[in-house]
């Protein structure tokens, strides 16, 4: 599967490819089993996503604990998840297949969705700019706004929007607290908060413009960033 075509999968699924690129992609699909299977997997994920309720107050499913537990079990591969071995280059990396990652993202989307729902109910809005965070009061439908404020745990910048994610992270880090110093835990929490805020902004943008394929893709990518960060935190907390 070529990187170039992998990059186009999401756009193709969204109907966002130009006609010429779409024809080229379909021609490639006819000869590439791997791309065809990946596309089919993504279609299934999207179909499943459409069947889910728009937003739920409490997560009905959380795949992360299972993923985390299996990552922590050294040497035991997760079904459908590629663990790259061999040279030192990739020895600490775990890579997920696209459908696996999409499934994990879906689970996280539900968690995040409930958190954002809770945050909006309480009228809180968080924005982020150039290394700076602020909580302000804005209308949900507006484009995100910015202001300067240095992020810090002491600054009262933790909104409900990031609570679910932080709880996940804290749970992951709890077992590894002797391996990571407080400053690192704080940095990971702040980074997760930034990602959660970005997810919240993208989600609100999608509500304002549901037909926007870029915003939908961006939301998915940002959720993927969250999965990556949680996975990395798990690795750090479990490193020898």
């Amino acid at each position: 599967m070529s990187d170039r075509f992998t990059e186009s999968l999401s756009d193709y699924l969204d109907g966002g490819l130009p006609a010429s690129a779409r024809a080229e992609f379909e021609s490639h699909l006819r000869g590439c089993t791997e791309c065809s299977e990946t596309l089919e997997g993504l279609r299934n994920v999207v179909a499943r996503a459409r069947m889910l309720p728009e937003r739920s107050a409490t997560p009905e499913i959380d795949l992360w604990p299972g993923i985390e537990a299996r990552i922590l079990e050294t040497g035991r591969p997760i079904p459908g998840v590629q663990v790259r071995r061999g040279p030192s280059w990739a020895s600490r990396r775990v890579s997920f297949s696209v459908p696996q990652l999409a499934a994990a993202c879906l689970a996280l989307a539900i968690v995040s969705g409930s958190a954002v729902w809770y945050a909006r109910r309480s009228g809180l809005e968080q924005t982020v700019q150039s290394g700076r965070l602020i909580i302000g009061s804005t209308n949900a439908g507006n484009a995100p706004s910015f202001a300067d404020a240095t992020p810090s745990a002491e600054g009262g910048l933790r909104g409900e929007a990031s609570k679910a994610g932080l709880d996940e992270l804290r749970r992951i880090l709890a077992d590894g607290r002797d391996k990571l110093d407080p400053a690192t835990v704080r940095t990971l929490e702040e980074s997760l908060t930034i990602i959660e805020i970005a997810i919240g902004q993208a989600r609100r943008a999608l509500e304002a413009d549901p037909a926007n394929p870029y915003v939908r893709a961006h939301l998915n990518k940002t959720m993927q960033r969250k999965v990556d960060l949680l996975r990395r935190a798990t690795m750090l907390a479990s490193a020898p």
Binding site: D3, G131, D181, T187, Q201, Y214, H218
Partner: protein, 336 residues
């Protein structure tokens, strides 16, 4: 050759290095090097010799071990996991050596390598000049600077900027959530270039000879081009595409709420890149030429100086106007 390297690596008995040590090992071609340092600095330059020079500086209570790992060597600092308990690992490696560096509170500075480079840190800045074939750089809370690299490039940070220049690659993926991205390098036919930020500006130099389909995506950001373009397609939302020449390469520039800027790049880098280049050269010069001294004596002073230096570097990297001057009215380091 790789099998021989692996066999030789495996035959090396692990040994530890005392603080202030300076050791040189002859290494076979193909040997990889892993470095793990929880806190401090990993400073690497390269030479043409097939030997590895290791200089270290760390607290007496801690230790730095050299041991075989797969078909390579591992240099690892064993210390209490605290930021202030850092070690300095200063290496001069063969140009061809593949490098895999990991840390937490770890700044990584690498210059002159012609091997693969992988860096993963959390709090540290990552500055790399060189690298071939596959270059993967990741930090969480700081900036990435990569120049003079050839190969497949992936750079990722969450809360930091990414600057890439003098790059020769047909596959570039750069992402940040909260920071700016600047890229200046080749745009090769059929290459894929993907720069993504949620909250930061993106600037990309398009070479005169480039042939590319350029897709611009933003939600509430802006787009600027220094040259005329004709949109070939506009999609729903603020997403559109245009072709430069025959649409060969694929360039995706996405910023949810930042400004996306493209310009024609030529022999001379743009003003922002020039300043970052000058500043990073100073950092290379300072960190790769300074003597490796006693940690206990120098730690506090060094840390303060370094922090101020990086603060300036970040500050001036982020706030340039079109003339390359600091927008905040503050003085550039060169002007001070």
């Amino acid at each position: 050759m790789l099998a021989a390297a692996a066999a030789i690596a495996a035959s090396i008995a692990a040994f530890s290095l005392p603080p202030g040590s300076d050791t040189t090992l002859v290494v076979p071609r193909g040997l990889n090097l892993d470095v793990a340092n929880y806190s401090g600095e990993v400073l690497i330059d390269a030479w043409k010799k097939s030997s590895l020079r290791i200089r270290t500086d760390h607290y007496e209570q801690d230790k730095v071990m050299v041991s075989p790992l797969g078909k390579g060597l591992l240099i690892k600092a064993y210390s209490k996991h605290q930021e202030e308990r850092g070690a300095v690992i200063r290496l001069t490696v063969p140009e061809w050596m593949n490098l895999d560096i990991s840390g937490i509170h770890t700044d990584v500075v690498i210059a002159g390598t012609e091997g693969q480079v992988r860096v993963e840190t959390v709090h540290g800045d990552v500055l790399v000049k060189g690298g071939r074939r596959r270059i993967n750089l990741a930090t969480v809370n700081e900036d990435i600077c990569l120049s003079d690299a050839i190969g497949t490039i992936a750079a990722e940070t969450v809360n930091g900027d990414a600057y890439l220049w003098r790059i020769d690659s047909d596959s570039v993926s750069v992402s940040t959530v909260n920071g700016v991205i600047a890229y200046e390098g080749t745009v090769r036919d059929k290459g894929v270039y993907h720069l993504t930020s949620h909250n930061g500006n993106i600037s990309m130099g398009i070479p005169d000879n480039a042939s590319a389909a350029v897709a611009i995506s933003t939600f509430s950001g802006d787009f600027e081009s220094s040259f005329p373009i004709t949109l070939s397609e506009k999609r729903a939302g603020t997403r559109f595409q245009f072709c430069v020449k025959t649409c060969s390469a694929k360039v995706d520039l996405e910023s949810f709420q930042g400004t996306i800027q493209i310009y024609k790049s030529g022999a001379t880098p743009n003003a922002q890149i020039q300043k970052i280049d000058r500043l990073s050269n100073k950092i290379y010069a300072k960190y790769l030429t300074k003597p490796v001294g006693k940690v206990e004596r120098a730690r506090s002073e060094e840390a303060m100086e370094k922090s101020a230096k990086y603060e300036k570097y970040r500050k001036y990297g982020k706030h340039y106007d079109d003339n390359g001057d600091a927008e905040d009215g503050g003085k550039d380091e060169d002007e001070e």
